[in-house]
């Protein structure tokens, strides 16, 4: 199961090492991780994309993270209404002739060209994982010289649909 887990942490030295060390020690597989400050001073947010076997493993992961003294809150937000984005920088082989062609490809993705050199250009794209994958696939035939991705960062939408309550009204029950 691919899950998106966020952790609010105290921004102390070594906290990233604590968290990643813990996940490594307990053999959790991290697909991506992103860390940054939040609106509150001294508080950072980590977003992990993890691949776990089952519910029990997932429960262990959140509990073990919660046990860390510097971790304030852990949420699995995969099934919630969330805004989630990652950023990718893609340097593609190009020259003056095909620059327009690439421009045409990236435009629907709302990506932008942020650097141009004699024989290459750099595209910046943000958004969901799948969207970025799709753009990378489209650019690959041109020759990707360099690719860097940030990993996903995410939080809950301001309003959550009342999904949990609907289950109770199921006629099957």
């Amino acid at each position: 199961m691919r899950r998106i887990v966020t952790a609010t942490v105290q921004n102390r030295s070594g906290v990233l090492n604590r968290v990643t060390g813990l996940l490594a020690k307990r053999q959790f597989n991290i697909e991506s991780i992103s860390v940054g400050r939040t609106e509150a001073e001294g508080i950072s947010k980590m977003t992990f994309v993890v691949d776990v076997e089952d519910e029990r493993k997932l429960e262990q992961l959140t509990k073990q993270l919660n046990k860390q003294i510097d971790v304030l809150k852990v949420s699995d937000i995969t099934d919630k209404a969330i805004v989630a984005s990652e950023l990718a920088l893609i340097r593609v082989v190009s020259n003056a002739q095909i620059r327009n062609e690439i421009q045409g490809i990236i435009e629907p993705f709302r990506a932008s060209i942020i650097d141009i050199s004699k024989d290459s250009l750099t595209v910046q794209v943000t958004g969901k994982h799948e969207k970025i994958e799709a753009l990378i696939d489209l650019l690959r035939p041109y020759g990707i010289k360099e690719l860097a991705r940030t990993g996903l960062t995410a939080f809950l939408r301001g309003q959550q649909p009342q999904v949990a309550e609907m289950k109770n009204y199921s006629i099957l029950k």
């Binding site: 105290q10 030295s13 070594g14 060390g21 813990l22 046990k67 003294i69």
Partner: protein
């Protein structure tokens, strides 16, 4: 030393160094005994200790591993944090085994390590080691003091974290220049730990669920783990078990939480547990686990562990609940608070008489057993004798291995906090230094270190302390001239290929003890033992007893690795 209630920094006008602040903080935490070893990076701290006069009782173990195992023994017996100081680099790395051991067995230990000065951290300076990096995975929490003004607060947090919730080791790494730095401004000791709020009171709804389940249960069993020790809940456990006539089985660390001679006690469960205890776990329909973490040595193959049972698990650490065994009734709570709630909300349970009779029958039919030869000593008999000569009332410490299991099986403990053993990490060399810590914690108690001939040789340098500190520790070497458990497994599972497990060359343990000014004696037969051991165990002198036992004895019954708890071998025929 008398400690006044007002803030410590007002008691002296002189500006204080970091080392002085540390000493003050230790006094504030009511630390009496420190297990440590000096060195370059902690010179300022040792100077401050020297200047503090007789504020502390410092124990100079002869190896840092001895310091920390002694601190663990101290913590195990008192329930209070054991305090360790070691220097940077090798001083700190020599503690690692003990820190990991304390982590696995949830012992409150606060470790202070020296570190090179802040300016040279990260330059591979002399005696520098990345203590934070090394200890992060094996501590409950760790700190490197970055600023002098943080030091008193960090010490306070360290003691708080180590001793509350699920106890564990906390490391505080102190750069040398922090220890020497002087600050005129009294630093604050206020702390807030928003990410550390252990839940100690049970949820009443969950308690209700458990009492409801108890009302339905026909074959309930109580599993008593180390959490009963930590929660100081032995009396409540006894009251609860008696109230409902609940059969009690123990984990290794849970021994002593419930009187071993009680009619409801069915002994230790697990790999070398009793038949009755393991069958109780196998056949039960309600398993109430209090403060055990369902370790693999207890459960055997998980699919055969309590397969028919509704599982209730009371633990102060929520991460333990559901980790290994699916749990229907999770109760996150301190053991004492949970038992108090259960005592108050007692449901009328249906009669479990039939179930008790069945287990009692198992206990009668398949007790622990061994064959006693004519003259030679077997270790099981030795343990029974040690038990009877000490009135079953000693504090017993052990290493890991065969002797540990025999001690667990045959030294029936009646009271809590008298069993000091390395369970989770299984550390050879633990028992003897742990006995020193236990004796310091309980000077008036009889402390018996039951050790193997292999394990004793890992930490025997601490014999120095017995005379130096006049500690009447009784060291019983269960000497089978082998790494017994390794030998047993090689016999059973590796077709008797005894690869490196026979210790045919050994020191003369009697002379060795004598060279440390400790009385040594050798016991080679049953008659020998009956003549010599009662006196050796009853006086107030330390003694090292080299007990020669038969090498081929194996620990039974046994659940072979990968087997279920109902598939015991070596059960009494």
């Amino acid at each position: 030393m008398k400690v006044e209630a007002k803030p410590h920094y007002e008691t002296q006008t002189k500006p204080k160094s970091g080392a002085d602040l540390l000493v003050d903080a230790l006094i504030q935490e009511e630390v009496k005994t420190i297990f440590g070893y000096p060195g370059g990076a902690v010179l300022p701290i040792y100077d401050a200790l020297y200047r503090s006069g007789d504020a502390f009782h410092h124990v100079l173990a002869r190896h840092e591993q001895g310091s920390i195992h002694a601190a663990e023994g101290y913590a195990r017996v008192t329930g209070k944090p054991g305090v360790v100081i070691a220097t940077s680099g090798p001083g700190a790395t020599n503690l690692i085994t003990g820190i990991a051991d304390a982590m696995m067995d949830s012992l409150p230990v606060v470790v202070f390590t020296g570190q090179v000065a802040r300016g040279v951290i990260g330059t591979d300076a002399f005696q520098e080691a990345d203590v934070m990096g090394i200890t992060t995975p094996i501590t409950k929490h760790n700190y490197q003091v970055q600023s002098l003004s943080d030091l008193p607060r960090i010490v306070k947090e360290a003691f708080h974290i180590a001793s509350t919730g699920r106890p564990g080791p906390v490391v505080v790494d102190i750069p040398k220049d922090i220890s020497t730095e002087v600050d005129d401004n009294p630093p604050s000791v206020e702390f807030s730990l928003p990410g550390y709020q252990p839940n100690l009171k049970p949820n009443p709804l969950q308690i209700k669920k458990l009492t409801d389940a108890m009302a339905q249960a026909k074959k309930p069993v109580l599993l008593a783990g180390a959490g009963i020790h930590h929660g100081k809940a032995s009396e409540e456990l006894k009251a609860f078990a008696e109230q409902h006539s609940l059969p009690v089985v123990h984990t290794l660390h849970g021994l002593g939480t419930f009187p071993g001679s009680h009619s409801l006690s069915f002994g230790m469960a697990g790999m070398h547990g009793t038949y009755a205890a393991n069958m109780a776990l196998y056949e039960c329909d309600l398993l109430i686990n209090i403060g055990s973490r369902f370790d693999d040595r207890l459960t055997g193959k998980l699919e055969h562990f309590a397969p028919k049972a509704t599982v209730a698990h009371i633990d102060v650490d929520p991460a333990e609940i559901g980790k290994n065994v699916p749990t229907q009734i999770p109760i996150v709570s301190d053991s004492k608070a949970a038992l108090e709630a259960l005592l108050k909300n007692a449901a009328a349970a249906p009669s479990t008489e039939e179930w008790y009779k069945k287990l009692d029958n198992y206990r009668e039919e398949y007790p622990l057993w061994y064959n006693k030869p004519e003259t030679d000593m077997v270790p099981q008999w030795l343990m029974e004798k040690v038990h009877s000569y000490t009135g079953g009332d000693a504090i017993v410490t052990t290493d890991v291995g065969q002797h540990q299991m025999w001690a667990a099986q045959y030294y029936k403990l009646e009271k809590p906090n008298r069993w000091v053993t390395s369970g989770g990490l299984g550390t050879m060399g633990f028992g003897f230094p742990a006995a020193i810590g236990a004796q310091l914690a309980a000077p008036d108690e009889k402390v018996v270190a039951v050790v193997g001939d292999g394990g004793f040789q890992m930490t025997l340098q601490e014999l120095s302390l017995l005379q130096e500190m006049k500690l009447p520790v009784k060291v019983i070497i269960v000497n089978n001239q082998a790494l017994g458990m390794v030998r047993q497994w090689q016999e059973s599972f590796y077709e008797k290929r005894y690869s490196e497990s026979i210790l045919s060359t050994q020191p003369d343990f009697v002379k060795l003890a004598e060279s440390y000014n400790v009385r040594g004696m050798r016991i080679e037969s049953q008659q020998d033992l009956e003549e010599k051991l009662p006196e050796a165990l009853s006086n107030d002198e330390p003694v090292v007893v080299d007990c020669r036992v038969l090498q081929q004895e194996n620990v039974y019954p046994m659940i072979a690795p990968g087997k279920g708890i109902h598939e015991m071998i070596g059960v009494k025929p």
